[in-house]
């Protein structure tokens, strides 16, 4: 069964149409990457799925159920998003505990204390961080909190918008390992937006290359590893990535 199906998705911000006819099908349990340069519309696709860019046309289906344009609680239980910047995505006046309990409160789920502790343990955060504020945490710890928040409702799909680009390589390695382990343990489906192709190689099964709001190529990660992408633009991307990483 496919986890996310997009058909002819056009997203607009005001008068500017950002994406044009995005059609993708992501299977359950798959890890799928959207790559492309800034402004190619890859984050916009994620935002539209998450409901943060409500001005869209086309179809968004999650596990066969069409997504509405408004706030959708049932949808939120299945699909959650992790943002790029852990410095900006956590409320500065809320403790880790408050941040993690909020989704439970919204959805009327009890048992909050034990659930918060369980999630913190699974993302590798020590219990002593529970009542700290974001400014008392390092970047890597904040991103762990952001991932934990997304996992509170036990979703099946995580939308990841550049989850490691604000982090150091050493911390990036820790977060990538964490994401890979969580996916294995909880059978999650990932839709990852990134411009870092080695991250795609490490974490994903398939990828789509986007440019000017269109998908120019869909390929498997094996093709990426062998530099066997066919579209000229995708080749340009992989070659420049290879150039900086082979020397």
């Amino acid at each position: 069964m496919s986890a996310i199906t997009l058909r002819n998705l056009d997203v607009s911000y005001g008068d500017t149409q950002v994406t044009h006819g995005i059609t993708l099908d992501i299977a359950e349990g798959e890890s799928f990457a959207l790559v492309g340069e800034s402004g190619s519309g890859k984050s916009t696709v994620l935002k539209a799925i998450a409901g943060l860019a409500p001005d869209w046309r086309g179809e968004i289906e999650v596990f066969g159920a069409a997504r509405s344009h408004g706030v959708d609680r049932e949808f939120a239980k299945k699909c959650q998003m992790v943002f790029q910047d852990p410095y900006g995505s956590l409320h500065p006046r809320k403790t880790v505990d408050a941040t993690l309990s909020e989704p439970l409160a919204i959805h009327g789920i009890g048992d909050q204390g034990p659930r918060v502790e369980k999630i913190m343990a699974s993302v590798g955060l020590d219990r002593r961080f529970r009542f700290r504020f974001p400014h008392q945490l390092s970047g890597g710890q904040r991103q762990r909190v952001a991932i934990a928040r997304a996992l509170m409702l036990e979703p099946k799909i995580l939308l990841l918008d550049e989850p490691t680009s604000a982090l150091d390589v050493s911390v990036q390695a820790e977060i990538l390992n964490l994401l890979k382990r969580l996916r294995r343990e909880q059978g999650l489906t990932f839709l990852l937006v990134t411009h870092n192709l080695p991250v795609v190689s490490f974490l994903c099964d398939r990828l789509a290359v986007m440019r000017y709001g269109r998908v120019v190529e869909t390929a498997s990660v094996d093709q990426l590893k062998k530099s066997a992408l066919t579209d000229p633009y995708s080749r340009e991307l992989t070659e420049s990535a290879a150039a900086t990483h082979s020397k």
């Binding site: 991250v199 190689s201 990426l224």
Partner: protein, 277 residues
Amino acid sequence: MSPLLEVENLRVSFPTAKGPVEVVKGVSFTLGRERLGIVGESGSGKSMTGRAILRLIRPPGVVTATRLAFDSTDLLARSEKAMRAGRGARISMVMQDPKFSLNPVMTIGEQIAEAQRAHQHLPRRELRQRVLDMLHAVRIDDPERVASLYPHEVSGGMGQRVMIAMMLIPEPDLLIADEPTSALDVAVQAQVLEIIDDLVKTKGMGLIFISHDLNLVASYCDRILVMNSGVVVEECAANTLHSAKHPYTRGLLAAIPRIDESRDELPVLDRSTWATA
């Protein structure tokens, strides 16, 4: 010829309730008209080193050095006024985050023109042409349109290119680039670095490239300093980085995923051995 920049025993400390904390602990290096890379994790003191050279560390931060000389003049003895004349014109710095470093209420064209005007007066038409040329040089396709936009109207990648244009327009002798491309995607990253590289070569600029991306630094610099908790743990030529010996450098190298990645898990640094070091 004397080196462009001499740094000897540079120390930066900040007072805290528990006494002063040293964030840079005795860094020494010299820089000619070459490309020097400084790599390390967040908190290793690499950015503080760059800022100290421009005397951008404000009280209560304290900067001391046995010698800190640019073009044979002592930077620590210079008046604030003399420093200000030199910043931008002689030594320039590209900051990390375009979101916080651009003026939100000025158009991009005006901001770049201001950077030029602060150091040299040009006729208005010539100034405008230079701004457009500079935007074009950082591969912005339609400079006319972009020059009239405000920072919030451009993407992060484009914002960073604007910053680079702004820093390079007065043609400085030394460019300090603090993570200049971490907000850019790979294709643009390579282009931007080529632009910087080109200027360094043709104009004989010196470059200090501060980054946490070892591979990137290795491919665009001549020499590399690896920093950890305020000290230089290893110095090597860029082409020998992959045979680096220090365990910290090796740990950082191993943590980077590769495009032909086959490892199931990435090795991570054992921080416990470093916390006490």
